[in-house]
């Protein structure tokens, strides 16, 4: 049995704690996973880990053993006091395990050259929506997601939980500022049709031809897509609303359009 760290001043503990800050996490290129289920999913999706923190009880358990056997030798393992781990964790019941993983760095240029369906998120705020949109994108076979600055951090723990592990299986470019996005759509204007979803759209989503390469934009829960992006779009599509309600939830709207898009392309299911 390894030595059990009990002091919150231990450098490994201090480092773990520091990564609960979004900025620090982004600067370090790391993110945090809590709990057996998602850490196991991450391992199965070949996520690259920096270190794993176990409680003594979890370390000795079957699940603990399963994790230790599956991870790379280079991953640093810490056994820490249960009280210390629970105090650091965001989840009420972190199940005795927290991991630090290394962000995957996707190459934007090769992604843009090769993708055919890209989802663009303009300031999605709710972590549950963000996670669900990532999950739906993987299900619908989207090639990747460009999340513009002002959206919730994709490595927020609530986003990771709602994504149900989908985040490990899709290219996500996050924190992309507006100027960079503008450059991308200018540079690739001949490859991608830019399609915005907005209640003021010109046509219904099922009237759209999705067979070309597409960037589909989904906007903020309350304010929709920025007007500059709407103005620059090749097409603005809308979803009909029959009953007495203003709009659909952003994740539901994404699902309805992405599934229409995929069907329209007659993917072989």
């Amino acid at each position: 049995m390894r030595e059990i760290i009990t002091s919150g001043f231990n450098p490994s503990i201090k480092y773990l704690r520091s990564l609960y800050n979004t900025k620090k996490r982004r600067n370090e290129g790391k993110y945090i996973l809590e709990g057996y289920r998602i850490i196991n999913e991450a391992i199965e999706s070949q996520v690259d880990f920096d270190s794993i923190y176990f409680t003594p009880g979890f370390y000795k358990s079957d699940k603990g053993n399963h994790i230790i056997n599956k991870i790379d030798d280079t991953v640093y393992i810490n056994v820490i006091d249960k009280r210390v781990l629970e105090e650091i964790a965001d989840t009420v019941n972190p199940q005795g395990i927290i991991a630090i993983a290394n962000e995957i760095k996707y190459d934007m240029v090769s992604f843009l050259e090769n993708a055919s369906t890209i989802l663009v998120l303009d300031r999605i705020q709710d972590p549950g929506n963000m996670g669900t949109i990532i999950r739906t994108s993987v299900a619908a076979g989207v090639d990747g997601i460009i999340s513009l600055k002002g959206s919730v951090d994709i490595y927020n723990l609530k986003v990771l939980r709602a994504s149900m592990g989908a985040i490990f299986n899709i290219a996500v470019f996050s924190g992309i500022d507006f100027d960079s996005f503008w450059n991308i759509i200018e540079k690739y204007r001949n490859k991608y049709r830019l399609i915005s979803t907005d209640p003021g759209g010109d046509k219904f989503y099922f009237e759209e031809d999705f067979t070309k390469d597409i960037m589909l934009v989904i906007g903020n829960e309350a304010n929709g897509i920025r007007k500059e992006i709407i103005a620059r779009s090749d097409e603005i599509i809308k979803i009909p609303i029959i009953g007495k309600i203003d709009s659909l939830n952003a994740a539901v709207a994404s699902g309805i359009i992405l599934y229409e898009l995929m069907r329209n392309r007659s993917y072989k299911y």
Copy 2:
């Protein structure tokens, strides 16, 4: 200005507090709304109120005035100490207003005789999903929802928030036990086709003919629909999954199928 209630032992306060218990709420046929936005939506949707609790500040504000002018004379108005109201409220920032509303009692028989699209929820657990499903149902023009026992309370505050006021505009029958549901589907077997959604379905959702009267069943987030319901279904439909993920979120799946259903019936948008 009315008298300001400052004691937590005041009977009106004790009654309000008691309704934060789900069982008590159900027995009384009441539910609670917190915050200006949803209470205002409820008023616009002709919800029947029992009483409203204001903080002194909110009572005197423009929004407070707006509410007071719009509600019926029979609604009992209380002005209570800010500290007391915040201590009772579920929301971190209840914005100085809490209301007790009377549940609408829909007539099940006349509903079943006249509806053409019914959504059946088999043990939906997550309040966000439940609220989003209700919102999506209103948007897609569903006639009503039968929520089976074991699903989250439809008057849970998180459900109400996620529904964005949709709950005031659709018939919802909640807490329906399995035997009652069984009787309904037996009695109306000639009117409604019972369609379950399950990954083991026989056909894809877009291959289904939705033009007849339909009861569409959506199941629990982790375990899906009970096997007895699946076995009794006229049709079991599935949604294709392209990428590496097990399933879609229940609210997203509902949205994809309900919008296909509505389109299939060629509603005039």
